[in-house]
Amino acid sequence: MTVGVPGQPFPAGAYPVVVIGSGPGGLQVSHALAEVGIDHAVISQDPSPGGMFRRWPFFQRLLSWTKPHAPVERGTRAYERYDWNSLLTMRASAQALQPTFMDGSSYFPSRPEMEANLAAFTERARIAVRYGCTWTGTRVEERAGATTFVVETSDGEYRCRVLVLAVGVAEPHVPDAPGIELAHHYGEVKPAEAYAGKRVLILGKQNSGFELASGLLPWARQIVLSSPSPASLSVDTRSLVGVRARYVQPYEDHVLGGGVSVLNAATGSIEQLPDGVLRAHLHRSDGGGDLVIDADAIIAATGFTAPLLDLPRLGCQVFGASRLPVQTPWWESATLPGVFFAGTLGQGARGLRKHGIPSNSGAVHGARYNARVLARRLAENRFGMGIHRPVVEPETLIDFLSSEIADAPELFHQRAYLARVISVDPAGGLRDDGVQPLAHAVDAGGPNAIFVTLEADGSGAIYPVLYTRIDGAVNEHPLEPDPLLRYDTAETRGAIASVVGPLLKASGISPPAS
């Protein structure tokens, strides 16, 4: 029986793929599936597209930029480097939408601007979603060696062989501590003016904690931020790890003694005094004595977890404070095959995490590329659809790799995570195998190949790295960083040639004339 709003797409029933979620992750993976020709249904409990951006960030301004005026033309592939918030499509009318919704006051879009961008993309890319359809449970049926997932929803049951979850990492996480229920979570913060003249203790020193502190600077009488480990700043880590530059003002106030205190301490307990004041007992982790902090409000900016419902019970293993699913490099549950993850849940596929720098899968500008790579993988491996692997002539290989290093947004945004793979075809010649997870390319073995990506080591440099696989042995070849990121140069092509030469020779392919 089909329930729900009349005229809504995707009534309950059987579909090759079911996608859950209508945030950027769900929208992008749906569109990527459509672009490779995989039939699927999209369901979402929300009333409209946008996911978390329908509500957050709390102070209504994103952390991810879009430069309306960039060094390259808007709408080109190279422009994606400068536009972190538009979703991806081959449809020209839906490309680079975010800058068209910005008013010029900031190159960080406001939350409503981002929501408008996502709504416009949904419309122009013609993404159909069944809204108001809540996922309530899951069953697994095994029949004749084939697994079917039964997705129970408020609108009936959906059956599929491939389930793609794009439900975000949106469940508030509150740590264990006696009295922690006296604190409220980031998701329950009141309007800033409600904290006028108040003493506020914020538990957590990541972006969400510092975002709140930044927004409360004009209102709160005193702000204390506390968590066991020291605050990490992105300008120090030279990566997206740590508190972003936009939210560092409270930290400066702390070091200048301006009414903000940043503490390294574990939360022992919280109690409410008879006059209503909240008293937190903190144990310093930097060697100092215990502290007692009196506050009018305590906010737990302690992160979010993945709302996976009953999937862990079905065997989907999770890890870490965010309870992310353990995944293969292709974003498939490592313990519940057939369940895939898109959007921020894809962070569970950690990749090589070289030099401790994570992928950008937790943000739109990283996850949008994962979705495309996943769709291509599903087409090839799950639905037996032939994927075009263009021939690469040896004479053009060096120029091709050089231009990918210089312009490819996938390699720029997903450094040391996604790579362009060119392999030696057993039937002869070279083939472009497309963009793949670097962890797969490095670990899975296969024919002789070269894969190229960009990497960073935390020193501030961004540099190309070529990997060769010759007779099964993988070796890395980092190229010299260029301070202006100019990699479409004769020097780069020369460096690539010195790596490509031995690969071609070992593969019986004549190297290009120099």
Partner: protein, 140 residues
Amino acid sequence: MATREELVDALAGFTLFGDLTRPQLTSVVHLMEEVLFAEGERVLRQGLTGSGFFVVLDGEASVVVDGTERAKLTRGDFFGEASILLGQPPIADVVALRPLQCLVLPGPQLEQFLIANPRVLYRMLQAQTRRLQSAQRFRS
């Protein structure tokens, strides 16, 4: 999946962290990241730069050099520090033999971590000296 309190309890039982107070252990748990590797997954890759420092919380891993298993790692063992301290790529693969739960610290943070926690540094030195001693015994 373990709670932070459970992770603190686990670390408290490991020799490497045996001298730290509970707030210090809590800080370590916040600083390091809990990760879970599936069976057969590579954790360290021989010859590739940029790896981290790992402490095994649960499971079992194999240390493989040029395709030959040289050692096994289990709960309480740690690995990855040698290549970070020397600034060289790992000389072995580490592969999960069954689901492997670890705490990991990014390589670039190890120096600061050890300077901030000299008792951990001392315990690590002891462990390295033991490894060296048994390697010398093995040779003689």
